[in-house]
């Protein structure tokens, strides 16, 4: 306890701003005298990691044939992890002792930084963040190796080998291309450059580690998958082992993404939380396939089906984490996260190709086992058929994509169309014909189409559809440039329009899924199950139409089409009904969750007469944590969707104020009290804009958005102030402040329901924690083991949640090169908004911002010019065309809907449709047998009469009693 208290006090004292005077140069020289060799030592450490990880790899490969070397491999794995920790600590030492001989230290820290921020700088730049990644991976690896002790002996060698391969990859990048221990050519400097003020922010401290933890957490499940493939132990053993690891990674992916949103909201000053930036997309994609995975493994547990699919999902998730890192780190696609661009991209490409090849090869090699062939006999033929089918599918996919792309060029149109039809025919007939000859699929396994199994297949389809859409559109600028040479931009307006239908489908399926029982839902039960949620939904929708407008939340919000023409207006329609559909579905979902809980509680209270409602809920959740934790996660997602719906009602306006001015805006009365200058911090000068805010007749508080000027970087940044409320946030971003005239400009946003996003995220994490909580019962494993498991789970979760909810002041948000957020945007009319939303600022500093958000002078001039032309009566479309003609296609935020560029939505749409068709085929095949053939009683007996009892009945009853609930 004392140690803990001491740790806490020390930590807090470290986190306090330092601000000590600079040390004289001879003292610095003196201090280096002790550790002259630090750079060499650190670099040697990196190479040592390479060698020891290689040793561990070899030993574990050796151990696959000679199990007695497993212990050696385990020890070597521990040694690798300890070496990585050593390297990280050495780098931490370099930061803390201001060792500016290291280029990385000099680039990302200075003497004025507090200990807390010095440690943040560890992952502030590229080289360090790779080391940080490696450190998290080593922590995961060590935990996994420790946890596997005495278990999974046959899988272990392959797991260790896989994890070591990943480590070797990262350490190779660091050793050869991004070494944080490399020295500056010019020698040590007196002081460093300091951390980018943009990164000196609380959310920035915790958002990358959390996201990285999620990314890295996917490695252990992936290693298990590879081990299962390599050993051929593809039953549910590895699925069981991997479940909690995957949920753990999923929790941190969720937290990381939410914190990223929080960072954007509190820091970037444009009043939003998600900009569909390539890096955001990269972090979101593994989340999608990981979500699909945690659902679809339940089918494998029950039906021993979807084995290939689960392997694919796992590999895709892992692939996406590496791809995400590649996107962030290689700088190939411009984004607000564009870190130092470097040559490490090529390593990532090699690694990605390796992952794809190895997993594909192993999967193809194991197809017979994956398809349960040995049960049915004829392994060779079956194998050929399976490989043939797989090949046909892969070829078909490629051809479809090629066709769609080729379709755009008129000459090829007939050929493309013909090939397209042929391919569809092949998929539908060829593959299924083969399946008929070799009926290896578990036909007739599921009784009814309306079952939870089918719902899970649909859920997988929609999640993967979203992933495919985001993956293709994110990479599209690269593809388009390499094929046609035309540069394009895919901005938020594009995603906001396209993702609405997909998101709503997911939301609807999330509600329907829990209503369907496993295997079969009786018709009457189905009607009953849909009744209450359906009624609730209609009531809420009706209410929304009736009173929504009066209370400021109209049911339908018109939105601007992103394309001219039919497609654009369809998408705009979908967007405009988003609010009412989303509220309706939210009501449906909440009703479903309440109904599921109450049904189960009532059922339990019928059988356990001694329990009251609360204890029954407790017992129920304790008994099947996965199911009821999962429902809580759903509840969190409902809350988040409500928050997203609020975005449709967002309003904002800019005001220019002199001291004493009062403005009224959406029920708020804002009085400008004057500017206030604070010089407390040696690193920066702070200028606050004091505003007294009243809502109706109640005084809220004095809000103080601010402008900070960082002395070292000479960088002005703006600090927003947010008044958080349950129904809406008042969000004020400062514009310019004139110290002489004391006039200030402010940008006021009213963001309805924003807080529900953060609440939803908390609920989601809580629900996921319930699902992850160890099943071990106290009575079974003894107090020590129970405390250990529970403690480990609790510690990791509390760490995540505590970091997520600790309130913190935002500090800065300015990027080094651009003049981002140095001013404000002025838009007078909806036409202007529509125009500026569609065009990109091309000042060169702000990467992907639309004109409606960028505040640089370049954007200001462009806006002024177009505003005057608009006032002179020119049309919006004309102005857009002129801008594009002048600056190129990529000046438009939404790629034009012409020719080849159509494939940006055509390819994903076709893939999604093909996916839907295959999903339907899969489910139909599962159910077809059962509906046509009545199950034959296994022994001859009178139909309808119970089978004769035998000794297995007692055995079965006993096994059923012993079966733990963790499977539910």
């Amino acid at each position: 306890m004392t140690a803990m208290a001491m740790t806490l006090t020390t930590l807090s004292s470290w986190l306090a701003p330092a601000g000590q005077p600079l040390e004289p140069i001879d003292v610095i020289e003196d201090r280096f005298a002790g550790l002259r060799s630090l750079p060499a030592f650190g670099t040697a450490g990196l190479y040592a990691v390479m060698v020891v990880a290689g040793l561990a790899f070899c030993l574990s490969i050796w151990a696959t044939k000679r199990p007695r070397y497993l212990d050696a491999a385990r020890s070597a794995a521990y040694a690798t992890c300890a070496l990585i920790v050593f390297d990280l600590l050495l780098l931490a030492y370099a930061f803390l002792s201001h060792d500016y001989r290291l280029r990385y230290v000099a680039r990302y820290s200075d003497r004025s930084m507090s200990v807390g921020y010095l440690l943040t700088a560890l992952w502030g730049g590229q080289d360090g963040s790779l080391l940080w990644w490696l450190f998290l991976l080593s922590a995961n690896t060590a935990a996994c190796v420790l946890w596997m002790k005495g278990k999974y002996k046959e899988l272990q060698p392959y797991i260790i080998a896989t994890l070591m391969t990943i480590m070797i990859f990262f350490v190779i990048i660091m050793g050869f291309s991004a070494n944080p221990f490399s020295e500056s050519i010019a020698g040590a400097r007196v002081d460093g450059e300091g951390l980018n003020p943009l990164l000196q922010d609380f959310y920035m401290i915790i958002h990358p580690p959390s996201l990285y933890t999620g990314f890295v957490g996917c490695s252990v499940p992936f290693a298990f998958g590879i081990a299962a493939l390599a050993t051929g132990r593809l039953g549910e053993e590895w699925i069981y082992a991997v479940r909690r690891w995957m949920l753990f990674a999923w929790i941190f992916l969720s937290i990381g993404n939410t914190l990223g949103m929080a960072w954007a909201y509190t820091e970037l000053g444009w009043g939003g939380h998600w900009a569909w930036d390539p890096v955001e997309n990269a972090a979101f994609m593994p989340w999608l396939s990981a979500s699909a995975f945690v659902h679809s493994i339940m089918i494998q547990e029950r039906w021993r089906m979807l084995k290939v699919w689960n392997i694919v999902l796992l590999s895709v998730t892992f692939f996406m984490t590496i791809w995400g890192t590649f996107l962030t780190r290689s700088g190939m696609i411009s984004s607000v996260h564009a870190f130092a661009q470097s040559n490490i991209g090529v390593y990532f490409i090699y690694f990605l190709v390796t992952i794809a090849t190895v997993t594909t090869a192993l999967t193809v090699y194991r197809l017979p086992e994956l398809k349960n062939v040995s049960e049915e006999g004829k392994p060779t033929e079956m194998y050929r058929a399976e490989v043939g089918k797989a090949l046909i599918r892969v070829l078909a996919m490629f051809t479809v994509v090629l066709c769609v792309i080729r379709w755009q060029t008129p000459k090829m149109a007939p050929v493309g169309a013909l090939a397209f039809v042929t391919v569809i025919g092949l998929i539908v007939f060829g593959a299924n014909r083969l399946a008929h000859y070799f009926p290896n699929q578990k036909r007739g396994a599921i009784e009814a189409l309306l079952s939870r199994e089918a719902a899970f297949v649909a859920n997988n389809w929609i999640l993967l559809a979203m992933q495919a859409f985001i993956a293709i559109t994110t990479a599209f600028p690269l593809i388009s440039e390499s094929i046609t040479g035309e540069k394009i931009t895919v901005g938020p307006a594009f995603y906001n329009a396209w993702m609405v239908p997909l998101g709503l489908s997911l939301f609807a399926l999330m509600g329907v899924g829990p209503l369907l029982g496993w295997r079969k839902t009786s018709d009457s039960a189905l009607r009953k199950a849909f009744f209450a949620p359906g009624i609730t939904m209609f009531a809420v929708v009706a209410m929304h139409f009736a009173i929504g407008k009066k209370i400021g939340f109209p049911a339908i919000v018109e939105s601007d089409p992103i394309y001219s023409g039919a497609l654009g207006s369809i998408l705009a329609k979908a967007s405009s009904v988003f609010p009412v559909v989303a509220t309706g579905l939210a009501a449906f979902n909440v009703a479903v969750i309440i109904q599921e809980y109450s049904k189960a509680v009532l059922a339990r209270m019928r059988t356990h007469r001694d329990e009251n409602g609360l204890t029954a809920v407790w017992a129920l959740v304790a008994k099947s944590r996965r199911r009821y934790g999962g429902y809580i996660v759903h509840l969190g997602i409902v809350a988040m969707f409500l928050g997203f719906t609020g975005g449709a009602y967002k309003v904002d306006q800019e005001f220019s104020l002199s001291k004493g001015d009062v403005v009224e805006y959406h029920g708020y009365q804002i009085t400008y009290l004057g500017p206030r200058r604070v010089n407390d911090d040696p690193a920066k000068m702070e200028i606050y804009v004091d505003l007294a805010v009243k809502k109706g007749n109640t005084e809220l508080r004095t809000m103080t958005p601010a402008r900070f000027v960082y002395r070292r970087q000479q960088m002005p940044t703006s600090e927003v102030d947010i008044h958080v409320g349950p129904f809406e946030d008042l969000y004020i971003a400062p514009g310019s402040v004139n110290p002489e005239t004391k006039t200030a400009t402010i940008h006021v946003f009213v963001n309805p329901l924003e807080v529900w996003i953060w609440l939803g995220a908390l609920i989601l994490v809580f629900g996921a924690a319930v699902s992850t909580w160890p099943e071990a019962a106290l009575q079974e494993v003894g107090i020590g083991a129970y405390l250990r498991t529970a403690g480990a789970t609790a510690a990791s979760l509390v760490l995540g949640v505590a970091l997520a909810i600790t309130p913190a002041r935002a500090n800065a948000q300015q990027s080094g090169t651009s003049s981002l957020h140095a001013g404000t945007v002025e838009m007078k009319s909806p036409e202007e908004r529509r125009l500026f939303n569609q065009l990109r600022c091309l000042c060169g500093g702000c990467d992907r911002l639309p004109l409606s958000a960028c505040v640089c002078d370049w954007a200001k001039e462009a806006r002024q010019e177009m505003s005057s032309r608009l006032a002179a009566g020119e049309s919006v479309d004309r102005l857009i065309d002129d801008y594009v003609a002048k600056h190129g296609t990529d000046a438009k935020v939404v790629p034009p809907n012409t020719g080849f560029l159509k494939s940006i939505w055509l390819v994903p749409s076709v893939l999604i449709v093909v996916g839907a068709v295959s999903a339907v085929f899969v489910v139909r095949r599962w159910t077809s047998g059962a509906r046509n053939v009545e199950p034959k009683p296994p022994r001859a007996g009178e139909p309808g009469k119970p089978l004769p009892k035998d000794e297995y009945d007692d055995k079965l009853d006993k096994e059923l009693r012993d079966l733990d609930d963790r499977s539910l």
């Binding site: 803390l96 999974y152 050993t231 039953g235 029950r302 021993r304 049904k599 055995k955 079965l956 499977s967």
Partner: protein, 216 residues
């Protein structure tokens, strides 16, 4: 490992440098980590955080050395009988578990009223039949192993029972002794490995068997 050097015979049997010979008490590792953390914090307070980072990295490099040493020990250890492999769960076992789970799900769905009684009865019959079938298959698969195990157990029991039908042996001075030399073993009280009757230390874990015998 002082035990290893005691007798020549034991050195052959006992795995040289088996680091798990004397397992540490369970509290040692957590206590060590806490101690290191406390020292690091203390150093950090007394001098500077940088020094405690240096201290921790020294600990890290020491543990690297330790782990590498252990790796070498593990590689160099003479072959011990490899432990029996964990057998992969067979398809039938997987199928059995799936069927049991199906029955569980069915009970649950019935409990909350998702399945009508008629459907319930039909499905219950189907899945019970399936579960029993798979249990039968599993039993069949295990039959050979079970028979072998039974035979081994029978042999072990027979070895301990006095043999009535071997009269010529009784002519010798101590009738049971030759038997005992070959078959009777000392079971290590710690790891239940069977050792030769005259073993002084357990060949697996190095437990002091002589002491036990003397006291017993």
């Amino acid at each position: 490992m002082p035990e290893d050097s005691e007798t020549g015979a034991d050195r052959q049997a006992a795995p040289v440098g088996d680091v798990e010979a004397r397992p540490l008490p369970r509290w040692v590792i957590p206590a060590g980590i806490l101690g290191i953390a406390a020292v690091a914090v203390g150093v950090g307070r007394l001098s500077s955080p940088a020094v405690s980072a240096l201290f921790l990295s020294a600990i890290a490099i020491l543990s690297v050395v330790g782990f590498l040493f252990r790796t070498v020990q593990n590689v160099a250890a003479p072959p011990i009988d490899d432990e029996p492999e964990e057998l992969a769960p067979t398809q039938a076992e997987d199928a059995k578990r799936a069927a049991l789970r199906a029955l569980r799900d069915l009970e649950y769905e019935k409990g909350i009223g998702n399945v009508s009684p008629a459907d319930y009865a039909k499905l219950l019959e189907k899945y019970r039949a399936e579960a029993k079938r798979t249990m039968r298959v599993v039993d069949e698969e295990r039959k050979e192993a079970r028979l072998r195990a039974e035979k081994l157990v029978a042999q072990e029991i027979a070895a301990f029972l006095p043999k009535a039908d071997e009269p010529e042996e009784e002519v010798g001075t101590e009738p049971d002794e030759p038997e005992e030399d070959e078959n009777v073993v000392i079971t290590c009280p710690k790891c239940s490995t069977k050792n030769d009757a005259d073993a002084v230390f357990c060949k697996k874990c190095g437990h002091d068997l002589a002491k036990k015998e003397a006291s017993a």
